[in-house]
């Protein structure tokens, strides 16, 4: 065993994160009722996509003489981990079901600059009591994300539907995540020697290999975050990082 072999054994770099998205951020408090009534469940039921939902029901409002429902909540993005300067867009996902197919269900986000709601799009269920995923993406980050605390205020509402019956809405999942303008990697040096990362490999689900040259030094025990413009197609992927001493760490994600 020579010096290099000894150093290679002492070197231990881990990839903690390799992603193009932030995690899903969910509601941390109860929904505010704008119109309509609370029926059952808790806000925690809207944090996990598991078929357990919080229920709301429309109430009659005159004017305009319709059964309406409008609920909203604040979802906070961790801007210290995912600064807006590295973000391309935000994605909002709602999983819901209703007992009637007559309404259009809109997702709105609060425009913090103009102090009004922005309509991000609508979804119309094709069948009653069937879970439906409704996802919208917006690049209007500066307006829809509160730059001070990372809050995104999301409202679910039914609109423009002169329905005659009370509609029950089940919200199983409502979350927001950031789509990065590239990708984010987190490396940790668990070894006892300073590691020099020299190359980054991304192997996508199609088997395509992308090699990217890097030059990152990580002290023992240190964790670093590396932002880069590297992107890859959606689907499963493998990320490898190679050190100057020839050690390779692997991370797989999807």
């Amino acid at each position: 065993m020579n010096q290099l072999d000894w150093e290679r054994e002492k070197e231990h770099v881990n990839i903690l994160l390799a992603t193009r998205f932030s995690p899903w951020y969910v509601a941390q408090m109860e929904y505010t009722m704008e119109t309509g009534k609370y029926m059952g469940g808790y806000f925690v039921h809207t944090q996990i996509d598991d078929g357990t939902a919080e229920q709301f029901i429309e109430s009659y409002k005159d004017p305009p003489g319709k059964y309406l429902l409008g609920i909203y909540n604040d979802i906070t993005i961790d801007l210290s981990s995912f600064p807006l300067s590295y973000a391309k867009s935000i994605e909002i996902q709602l999983k819901y079901s209703v007992n009637s197919t007559e309404d259009y269900w809109h997702l709105n986000a609060w425009n913090w600059k103009a102090n009004k709601w922005s309509d991000l799009g609508s979804s119309k269920p094709a069948a009653a009591w069937t879970w439906l995923y409704f996802t919208v993406e917006t690049t209007d980050l500066k307006k829809l994300v509160n730059e001070i605390d990372g809050r995104v205020r999301i409202k679910i509402t039914d609109r423009d539907s002169p329905d005659a019956t009370l509609t029950v809405l089940n919200v199983d999942f409502l979350a927001v995540r950031v789509t990065l303008n590239g990708s984010c990697f987190k490396f940790k040096n668990n070894g006892s020697l300073t590691a020099h990362l020299v190359a980054l490999w991304v192997i996508d689900s199609g088997g395509n290999r992308g090699r990217y040259e890097v030059s990152l030094f990580i002290n023992p025990g240190e964790t670093i975050t590396y932002w880069t413009s590297i992107t890859w197609p959606s689907g499963s992927y493998v990320v490898k990082v190679v050190t100057e001493r020839g050690n390779v760490s692997i991370y797989s994600g999807s």
Binding site: A199, K240, E244, G246, V248
Partner: protein
């Protein structure tokens, strides 16, 4: 004039020690120069070997081929002269890597899926990088 010269040459007060010291210094410097040059020449190959470092970044099992991605991390250019798969020499595309350069080394080999292969890459100076790699299923 002749008398003065004779006085200097035959004067035994202090000239001989100076000359001998000077001569000894010249001899010592010359000997050291020869020794250093000899050491430099003799250990030149060793120094080159010690400066040579390369790593395998990726191994890609393709149809009828194993592609090995090499990166020269040393302080001297390298030339690959032999590749052994399971301790058997294989034909490969010639590859020379300059300082900090990298590239694919294509080794002609008909591999079987889901098996472990010992791949050893050897340079012209005798440095080797060897490891085990598993083929995809």
């Amino acid at each position: 004039m002749m008398m003065e010269m004779r006085k200097i040459l035959w004067n035994r007060r202090g000239i001989s020690p100076v000359l001998s010291s000077l001569l000894l210094t010249v001899v010592a410097v010359a000997a050291m120069s020869i020794a250093i040059t000899a050491t430099y020449v003799i250990t030149g190959n060793l120094r080159e070997n010690m400066s040579e470092r390369f790593i395998v970044e990726d191994v890609w099992f393709k149809t009828g081929e194993i592609a090995v991605y090499l990166h020269n991390t040393g302080r001297i250019p390298i030339k690959i002269v032999a590749v052994y798969v399971n301790y058997t020499a294989q034909s490969f595309t010639p590859l020379e890597l300059g300082l900090s350069s990298h590239g694919w080394l294509s080794v002609a080999y008909s591999w079987d899926p889901n098996r472990v292969y010992h791949i050893n890459v050897v340079t012209s100076r005798g440095s080797q990088v060897a490891d085990y790699y598993k083929s995809p299923s």
